[in-house]
């Protein structure tokens, strides 16, 4: 975690950063516990660490509160703190599990995939696939369940300076199993995404985080309030005919994850870049995410304030997304 002074300052300014929570040695302590005692040993340490941060870190509570106060709007006091503890604990377990896969091998966790046949049919359309996820569960674990598709996987992601969380392949000391497209690269990586889809490949994006310029967002409802979601992926789907496959992962047991095909969004050929044109598709995604949050309230790990501030006249403010442009890191990565 950040130092207390930085903690206070960040909490006050409301700045959000995707940088890792925790210092390097603290992460190393968890890795050591995994090596010595496996997943359960790391969980034991986690219970204590999470309790400490929930009680004493204003920043941790503030980051969790953006989501929690929308998901549990009536909650106050100790119950609010309990929700915060549950959410951060779930998140910590996901980070531990991710390290477990890298250190002990993929067989340490069981990943169940729903809708295998449907995914094969979508692949066989030969238009590529946009696999759209969100900051839920552990998408890295889920990636290992996509091998059966036998298509190269491209991941739109960028790691911020100061991010010390390791991806599972870094723990394992193997090459990155997917091609990384940098959203801050040439034209936001759009040409690379188009090229990959034209070759029938898979492109993975996060539907709950901005990918390109801040012009490319549309307002939709999530948990009863407006959020601004990117629509670039739907535009690319429209240009290529690729289906947008919304898949959401969740931890459904001590050592198991489930990869759920939540929605297949079909975007017809649409002209122009008017946000309104793409609102129905972004709304389909947000509805799927909303349903997920209702069913699994402690598995949405988006620790920044994605909800638009409301003005007294009820008009949303224009918000700059520069601080988190193109990130997949909200913490759950």
């Amino acid at each position: 975690m950040q130092k207390q002074s930085e903690d206070k300052q960040t909490a006050e300014t409301g700045d959000w950063s995707s940088r890792s929570i925790g210092s390097n040695w603290q992460h190393q302590a968890f890795y050591l516990m995994i090596r010595l005692g496996g997943r359960r040993a790391a969980y034991l340490l986690l219970y204590v660490v999470v309790a400490y941060y929930v009680l004493f870190s204003r920043l941790a509570r503030q980051r969790a509160s953006h989501y929690l106060r929308r998901r549990f709007p009536e909650t106050t006091g100790w119950l609010q703190l309990w929700h915060c503890y549950q959410l951060i604990l779930s998140f910590g377990k996901v980070l531990v599990d991710r390290a477990v896969v890298g250190i002990m091998g993929p067989e340490a966790l069981n990943v169940t995939l729903d809708a295998r046949e449907e995914l094969l049919k979508l692949r066989d359309e030969q238009r590529g696939m946009i696999m759209m996820s969100a900051h839920v569960g552990c998408w890295q674990v889920a990636m290992s369940a996509l091998d059966f598709l036998q298509r190269p996987v491209n991941m739109l992601m960028r790691r911020e300076d100061g991010d010390i969380d390791r991806h599972y392949y870094e723990h394992a000391g193997i090459d990155c199993p997917y091609r990384v497209i940098d959203p801050t690269g040439y034209l936001g990586g759009t040409l690379e995404m188009l090229g990959a889809l034209k070759q029938g490949q898979i492109v993975c994006v996060m539907g709950d985080r901005l990918l390109g310029s801040d012009r490319s967002t549309v307002e939709v409802d999530l948990l009863g309030e407006k959020v601004s979601l990117p629509f670039s992926a739907y535009k690319i789907a429209s240009a290529t005919g690729a289906p947008v496959v919304v898949f959401l992962t969740r931890k459904d047991g001590p050592a198991s994850y489930r990869l759920q095909l939540a929605q297949v969004i079909r975007v017809p050929e649409l002209q122009g870049r008017n946000a309104e044109t793409f609102r129905p598709y972004a709304a389909e995604f947000s509805a799927a995410l909303d349903k997920f949050c209702q069913e699994y309230p402690y598995q949405f790990f988006n620790f920044f304030d994605m909800w638009l501030k409301q003005q007294p006249d009820n008009k949303p403010t224009i918000r700059s997304h520069d601080g988190y442009q193109g990130k997949t890191e909200a913490g759950s990565d």
């Binding site: 034209l187 690379e192 188009l194 090229g195 390109g212 670039s232 535009k235 240009a239 122009g272």
Partner: protein, 84 residues
């Protein structure tokens, strides 16, 4: 109408650059960033309209990056593909 003139017309119509006239678009002006000020989403649209109006496909980054620099480079790319 030559390729460059048609390109300019297509850009104005399809990318909603109505405040520009074909004469105001320089042949060597950058399409993205400074210059015409197009962005990543316009790039997607541009790939689509190039295929639609000129029957030329920009398949990947290797082809697209040099081609999408300016009207000059894009016209040369289209001409090359149409002749090839």
């Amino acid at each position: 109408m030559d390729i460059k003139a048609k390109l300019k017309q297509v850009l104005i119509e399809e990318l909603n650059l109505e405040d520009l006239t074909p004469e105001e678009i320089e042949d060597d002006a950058q399409l993205f960033g400074e210059g015409l000020g197009l962005d990543s989403l316009d790039a997607v649209e541009l790939v689509v309209v190039i295929q639609k109006h000129f029957g030329v496909e920009i398949k990947d980054m290797e082809e697209g990056r040099p081609a999408l620099q300016s009207i000059d480079s894009l016209a040369a790319f289209i001409e090359d593909k149409q002749q090839g």
